[in-house]
């Protein structure tokens, strides 16, 4: 029989771990740095998360502003709904990526950062990722809006499932001939490859601890939720902090906390405190919904479901198969990083990766959260699901929502599907062990 895992009674007092405080402080500092950049004589570079060149940008003293992260922040703070409507008022259709519309709408509504101050206009737009063509159009819109210089680093798609020497050389050539000279000109700072190497050393150090944390989910019970919790864990390294001392410190703290959880045999921490008994170990493909993030998460932990691995936590870099930023080959390493992010992988690679997660993390099933306004992520997902089911014999589940458009999150429908999915796993388990009377 189904056990009740919902925590009953009064909600526990919110207790934040040291790493949580550290991240909060880092994010506050990040937004203050952006909003005061111009008054401090610093220049601002807007760029995207997947394939971001944070270590390189930092070599030029530029402040890194990430529109997707801002859209996520707007989603989490329940502001994106109005921004999306505002963008639609300005002619963007209902089906356009809602990160784009949230960002455009935010600009129309005064472009106010989470700290309540105005975002500065960027001095340069660095588009270092083309796995998603909508991102390219997004930057076209931003270029139109800000009338500033745009640098494009074209990342070839891994259509054949591998990174070739030609692809790497092509990217390094772009870095040398186009990206670096332009950044030098815009910033007025001469490129120092040794500074880049130093930054890359720091990146690799943080990446090592991040991978340890993500792989801790192989424990039973898993000490982390690698999707909902994972969103927080990837924040610093996917955002503006890769290659910084802050990131190193954050991941050190986080790792120590997770190590302690493993030792104590504790499950993941959730907004309602420690999760109850682990009943389902799930691998999730696809981004989360940010406008109802906690409600969505609660639908999992109330049922005793923990996400042990997710593909979304690899969109800003795939580190768990061995890649680390390499100071000995700095530009080649940046190229490999961009080429290897999850969204630049082809469908067979994504399937292999998910299959690996299903096996390595001893998961009970694969769940896809298909994003209505993100065709580049969603295309082929049902095929992927079928293939994983075939290879692993484990049941697949499918829910639909959106990134930051609250209209696309239908709680009753999603909860219904999730509960059905978890019960389906139960039914399969009992069917295997006991047989079912017809």
């Amino acid at each position: 029989m189904t056990e009740i895992t919902t925590p009953k009674g009064a909600s526990p007092e919110v207790i934040k771990d040291d790493s949580m405080w550290k991240q909060k402080e880092m994010m506050a500092g990040h937004y203050d740095r952006i909003t005061s950049a111009h008054e401090n004589g610093l220049k601002v570079c807007n760029t995207f998360v997947p394939g971001n060149l944070n270590e390189l940008i930092r070599c030029f003293g530029l402040v890194n502003n990430l529109p997707e992260v801002n859209a996520i922040q707007s989603g989490l703070r329940k502001k994106s709904g109005n921004f999306v409507l505002e963008a639609e008022k300005h002619g963007h259709s209902e089906d356009v990526c809602t990160y784009v519309k949230s960002d455009i709408g935010m600009m129309e509504k005064g472009n106010i950062a989470p700290n309540g101050k105005k975002f500065p206009d960027p001095d340069v737009l660095l588009l270092s990722y083309t796995g998603c063509f909508t991102f390219m159009k997004w930057f076209e819109l931003l270029r139109e809006q800000y009338d500033c210089e745009t640098i494009m680093l074209h990342t070839p798609y891994e259509g054949d499932g591998k990174i070739t020497k030609n692809m790497r050389d092509y990217m390094v050539k772009q870095l040398k001939d186009d990206v670096i000279p332009k950044l030098e000109r815009i910033s007025g700072v001469k490129f120092d490859i040794d500074l880049l190497r130093e930054n890359l050393v720091k990146s690799a150090k943080a990446e090592e601890d991040l991978v340890w944390v993500l792989q801790s989910a192989k424990n039973k019970p898993s000490p982390i939720d690698a999707y909902f919790g994972g969103i927080y864990y990837i924040g610093p390294i996917f955002g503006a902090f890769r290659g910084t001392d802050d990131a190193i410190e954050y991941y050190k703290l986080l790792r120590a906390e997770v190590e302690a959880r493993v030792k104590a045999g504790r499950g993941p921490v959730t907004p309602d405190g420690d999760m109850g008994k682990e009943k389902y170990r799930i691998v999730v493909e696809g981004p989360p919904n940010y406008t109802s993030f906690r409600d969505f998460w609660k639908m999992f932990y109330d049922e005793g479901a923990v996400v042990v691995a997710s593909s979304y936590t690899k969109v800003g870099g795939v580190y768990d198969f061995g890649f680390r930023h390499d100071p000995t080959n700095p530009l080649e390493s940046l190229a490999d990083y961009c080429l290897g992010v999850y969204t630049n992988l082809n469908l067979p690679q994504r399937v292999d990766m998910l299959e690996n997660y299903m096996n390595e993390y001893e998961a009970d099933g694969l769940l896809i959260n298909s994003i209505k306004s993100c065709n580049s992520f969603s295309a082929g997902q049902l095929l992927m699901l079928r293939e994983i089911e075939k290879r692993t014999g484990k049941p697949g589940g499918f829910v639909e929502s959106d990134l930051v458009d609250p209209r696309y999150f239908s709680p009753a429908n999603i909860k219904n599907r999730l509960e059905s999915y978890f019960q389906m796993i139960d039914q399969k388990r009992s069917g295997k062990t006991k047989g079912v009377a017809a």
């Binding site: 056990e3 049941p395 429908n413 059905s420 019960q423």
Partner: protein, 440 residues
């Protein structure tokens, strides 16, 4: 007797199935979901228990009164109709008292006496007409008290109101205020006594029966005396979360529909369920275990409710849509199954001069096309294919489904059970049985 009950709380109707320890289905009950799932659950359960009593009566009478022979079915029909009439009159009495109690406030000031007199006359008229409705073969558009009593009340109050110079809308207002209260107060009179009164009516209605009345009476009485112990209940459907059940008494309707379809047809591998607000494509394994499912997301385009809107727009009964669509000479091409746009689409087509039946045929096809898309996303259609839900009763929808299944998947056995509306509840009852027998 140990009984296991499954209740499927749908958006339009609530269904219950009651089975015994041998997993034999003894009774089924259905009611409108109202806005109150707790009442709907209780009423559906009660209906399933009534239906169980009739099954037990049938068993006893078959064994003990073999001389009933070919007359058994008619006798049992009369027994049930007599019981329904008893129930109807009981609820009607409640409605009358509630209506009279609601004749108060500024709106009725100074006219209370007059209105109450009209109400007395109206209810007298309805009560006098009621027995005719419960004659065998009497046509009834609905089995729900709200629908039957409502249409009769409207007719009588229009006439009586006119005679007494009381505005019709005043009488309507009294009814509207009262019906919800009454509907949420299911009949609670002594079931056995009502059955015995119904038995007298049935015997009276079949004067030529050559049976020992006392043996018949004893057989019925014994069926009524069996204690129906509610051993385990499982709730499913959208309304399940609103019920005060603990978690182990709740199952997802996907699993219940999958298992219910398997119980009806053990060869089922794919299930299509089109309900009021959901269309579900479900794949099950040879044991009835769900392997995969897909359903509509936040948009309920093309679900049962869509047909409801169309029926309203055309000023027709829901059950009349299918037969009219079957008369189509051609199938109009309809792209949108949006419920909100349904009326506009319909009017647009009519304005273009298209025939009603052709438009309806197109609407049915578009519903099935959408269902086919959901099915293909769930893994396609495998042999055997079981179609469930209210829409499975619609012949035009079934016709389109057969065509599209043949076109896309070849020869597949399509199962449609006359009791398909109870599929989810049957799955629920089976889960209830397994919860106790240890197969959960």
């Amino acid at each position: 007797m140990k009984t296991f009950i499954g209740v499927d709380l749908g958006s339009t109707t609530t269904k219950a199935v009651l089975m015994d320890e041998n997993m034999d289905v003894l009774g089924r009950g259905i009611t409108n979901s109202r806005s109150n799932y707790t009442t709907a659950c209780n009423v559906a359960k009660l209906e399933a228990q009534i239906s169980t009593r009739l099954t037990l009566c049938r068993r006893n009478l078959t064994q003990r009164v073999p001389e009933l022979g070919g007359k058994l079915d008619e006798f049992l029909t009369r027994l049930e109709l007599g019981f329904r009439l008893e129930q109807f009159l009981e609820q009607l009495e409640d409605l009358k008292a509630t209506c009279i109690g609601n004749v108060s406030g500024d709106r009725f000031a100074g006219m209370e006496k007059q209105i109450i007199e009209v109400l007395e006359a109206v209810f007298k008229g309805v009560a006098a007409e009621a027995p005719k409705l419960y004659e065998p073969d009497a046509p009834r558009k609905s089995d729900f008290f709200r629908d039957i009593a409502g249409s009769m009340y409207m007719a009588h109050s229009q006439a009586r109101g006119k005679e007494a110079g009381i505005a019709y809308d005043m009488l309507l207002n009294v009814y509207d205020k009262s019906i919800i209260e009454v509907e949420n107060r299911p009949p609670n009179a002594d079931m056995a006594a009502s059955f015995l009164r119904a038995l007298d009516r049935a015997l009276k209605g079949m004067p030529g029966l050559n049976v020992d009345v006392n043996t018949v009476r004893k057989a019925v009485q014994d069926a009524l005396d069996v204690e129906l112990e509610e051993t385990y209940l499982v709730g499913t459907g959208y309304g399940r979360v609103t019920l005060p059940f603990s978690k182990e008494h709740i199952r997802s309707e996907i699993l219940c529909h999958g298992l219910g379809a398997h119980m009806m047809y053990s060869g089922t591998r794919t299930v299509l369920d089109i309900g009021g607000q959901d269309t579900k494509g479900i794949q099950v394994d040879p044991k009835g275990i769900v392997e995969n499912f897909q359903m509509n997301d936040r948009c309920a385009a093309g679900c049962g409710r869509y047909l409801g809107y169309i029926a309203d727009e055309m000023n027709m009964g829901l059950h009349e849509l299918g037969p009219l669509a079957m008369k189509a000479k051609r199938v109009a091409k309809i792209n949108s199954t949006c419920t909100v746009f349904a009326g506009a689409e319909l009017r647009d087509r009519l304005a273009l001069g298209e025939a009603r039946e052709d438009i309806l045929a197109g609407l049915h096809r578009s519903i099935i096309l959408r269902a086919m898309s959901i099915l293909s996303r769930s893994g396609g259609i495998r042999d055997q294919f079981t179609f469930t839900g209210g829409v499975a009763k619609n012949e035009a929808a079934v016709k389109e489904l057969r065509i599209l299944v043949k076109e896309n998947y070849g020869d597949v056995q399509i199962n449609i059970n006359p009791d398909s509306i109870y599929t989810g509840a049957l799955g629920g009852a089976t889960f209830a049985h397994r919860a106790v027998t240890g197969n959960a």
